[in-house]
């Protein structure tokens, strides 16, 4: 893995762990943190609530940013979608990012952060989004069974993405 202090790699779990399946981003991030624990330094793992300005701060200057978020598009619960966002051109994959935004803490989320970051030239060099289909976005902690079951798989996908 090539990563320097100047172009760090970040893994960002997005969501609110007190809104059931919206906590999947943070759960995956924790899993990735544990998986990487022996080598730690070269990747920063963090949780964010999806508010666009905080997301932009989190990935600004990164060589690679991997964002994990919940989504609800009506698809199979626990399904994982991978989207790579072009930092310079082309529309963000709107449908996917909007359905992720609907499941994020403040309505505004990854999709808005991508659009705002691009307008300001503040996207990472590479941005990969993993969106996990959730079903329960009610109050309280704890993922639904099928989303919980997907956490390890998504974490493995993230770790694989980090490999050179």
């Amino acid at each position: 893995v090539t990563s320097t202090r100047a172009t760090p790699t970040v893994v960002i779990g997005v969501g609110n762990s007190f809104r059931r399946d919206d906590g999947v981003g943070e759960a995956v991030a924790e899993h990735v943190r544990d998986a990487l624990a022996p080598v730690g330094e070269w990747v920063q793992v963090m949780a964010r609530d999806g508010e666009p300005a905080r997301l932009i701060d989190a990935w600004d200057g990164a060589g690679l940013a991997i964002v994990v978020d919940a989504m609800r598009s009506g698809g199979r619960v626990g399904a994982v979608h991978r989207v790579e966002v072009d930092p310079l051109e082309g529309p963000p994959p709107a449908e996917l990012l909007e359905s992720a935004a609907q499941a994020s803490t403040h309505g505004a989320g990854v999709g808005e952060a991508v659009a705002l970051g691009r307008a300001l030239g503040r996207l990472p060099r590479r941005l990969v989004v993993f969106a996990v289909e959730g079903e329960d976005f009610g109050d309280g902690p704890g993922l639904s069974t099928r989303v919980e079951a997907a956490v390890a798989e998504v974490a493995a996908l993230v770790v694989a993405e980090l490999a050179p």
Binding site: A47, A53, A103, H106, A115, A119, G140
Partner: protein
């Protein structure tokens, strides 16, 4: 959707399904008269009140911080103060100063987010902050830089950028050294300049010509602009201890909303938040903020709710200056927290969240187990006033076409920076000519 005022019409603004901040607006008119205004706002605190029962007295700061991603510090501070009140503990000195410092960070973050990314587009005729970034890139960059200064305070004192984990009943788990605070001061020097520039920027906006003789309610601290504690006061003579909050504020269910509406006494609407704080406490602004308010033309009393964006900007400057002065005089406390031993009783805590008064009340038993919890957030207090404003705004602008009128209504709702601010971007309009 381009017509002159039809005989009757319905403006219905519905948020798409989302996790937090569900809200909807419904307005009906008949022959140029408004016949109905309903605002529905989703309220997470109701869930948390039940969730907290049976928990330990040490848990509310961590748990209630989860209610809002934008103002977790407010929830933590009201929770801490209410529990400490129940246990007969007063936190003062450097620990109290650190509480004020982290609260400054939250005001800077929350207000700046609202001013730049949510409310400014309403005044500048653009659809979103993304469009604003294209037309006024330097301004948006300034906003993000300023907001980041607030983030840095919350992260340093709170231990995390979101849902701070370093706050506890009695104080903190760990307190910063003077040396650790030094870089923050450098950031805040720059933020102060950005904040002043923000006041000048928003003061130049066009403000709709609307005023109302509101009842303003805020905290009053003896010698400073209110944030952490104080008496509950109004411009109509209210002046009581925060423990009397529920003797004066009455929450009621209304048919069109699952959220509670709050009134003073039986039916008096009131307003909490920046406008109320400013109108009742302007003499305690820091000198720079007071000067900026004067230059921005705010006057001693401001009754135009659209100018709340200017007051927010002034409060950001005040928060930057306050934070700088706290850092300059900071002495590391002997210990990071005072002991808070449980005892049976009831405690009250009222603090000034960015969007207004946030009241917590807890009843605990001798082991510290929570028997009852009550949380009154600012948005439920402002909700009847927002509906009142919408009523008049629609009447005054009945000739606008639907798109323009909906725009004005959303702008009006955002004057209060309610939790639905973000979702208002998803608002949808249908019309119904009758």
């Amino acid at each position: 959707m381009t017509h002159k005022a039809p005989a009757g019409r319905t403006l219905r603004v519905e948020a798409l399904a989302r996790v937090e901040g569900e809200g909807a607006m419904h307005i009906e008119t008949r022959d140029g008269e408004v016949t109905d205004v309903q605002l529905r706002i989703y309220e997470p605190p109701r869930f948390f009140e039940a969730f907290l029962r049976g928990r330990a007295h040490t848990e509310p700061p961590d748990l209630t911080a989860r209610i809002c991603g934008i103002c977790p510090v407010a929830y933590q501070m009201s929770a801490c103060r209410a529990i400490e009140d129940a246990c007969g503990v007063m936190v003062d000195g450097p620990l109290e100063q650190l509480r004020r410092l982290i609260y400054c960070g939250e005001w800077i973050e929350s207000h700046t987010l609202h001013v730049y990314l949510l409310h400014a587009p309403d005044f500048l005729g653009v659809d979103s902050a993304i469009e604003l970034a294209e037309t006024e890139r330097a301004a948006v960059e300034r906003g993000l830089r300023l907001k980041k200064a607030g983030n840095e305070i919350v992260e340093l004192i709170g231990g995390r950028a979101i849902h701070p984990v370093n706050v506890r009943v009695g104080g903190f788990y760990r307190v910063p050294t003077r040396r650790e605070l030094a870089p923050l001061a450098e950031t805040l020097e720059r933020a102060r300049d950005d904040a002043l520039e923000t006041v000048r920027w928003v003061a130049g906006f066009d403000f709709p010509d609307y005023e109302h003789d509101y009842t303003f309610v805020s905290l009053r601290e003896p010698d400073r602009y209110p944030v952490l504690q104080g008496r509950l006061i109004s411009n109509r003579g209210l002046d009581v201890a925060e423990s009397a909050f529920l003797d004066h504020v009455v929450e009621e269910h209304v048919a069109h909303s699952t959220a509670l509406h709050a009134h003073l006494g039986r039916d008096e609407n009131y307003l909490v938040g920046p406008l109320a704080r400013y109108n009742l406490n302007a003499e305690f602004l820091t000198p720079g903020a007071a000067g900026a308010a004067l230059d921005a033309g705010l006057g001693s009393v401001c009754r135009n709710p659209y100018r709340s964006i200017v007051v927010r900007a002034v409060e950001v400057l005040h928060a930057c200056e306050t934070a700088l002065s706290i850092i300059a005089s900071y002495e590391e406390p002997d210990r990071p927290a005072v002991d808070v031993e449980p005892r049976p009783g009831i405690g009250h805590g009222c603090t000034e969240a960015p969007r207004g008064l946030l009241y917590h009340r807890y009843e605990i038993d001798e082991s510290g187990s929570i028997l009852d919890a009550c949380i009154v957030p600012p948005t439920s207090q402002n909700q009847p006033t927002i509906e009142h404003d919408l009523w008049h705004v629609v009447e005054d602008n009945i000739d606008l076409d639907d798109a323009a009128l909906t725009w004005r209504c959303e702008q009006t709702i955002r004057n209060y920076d309610p939790c639905i601010s973000c979702s208002a971007h998803f608002l949808d309009l249908t019309r119904d000519d009758r």
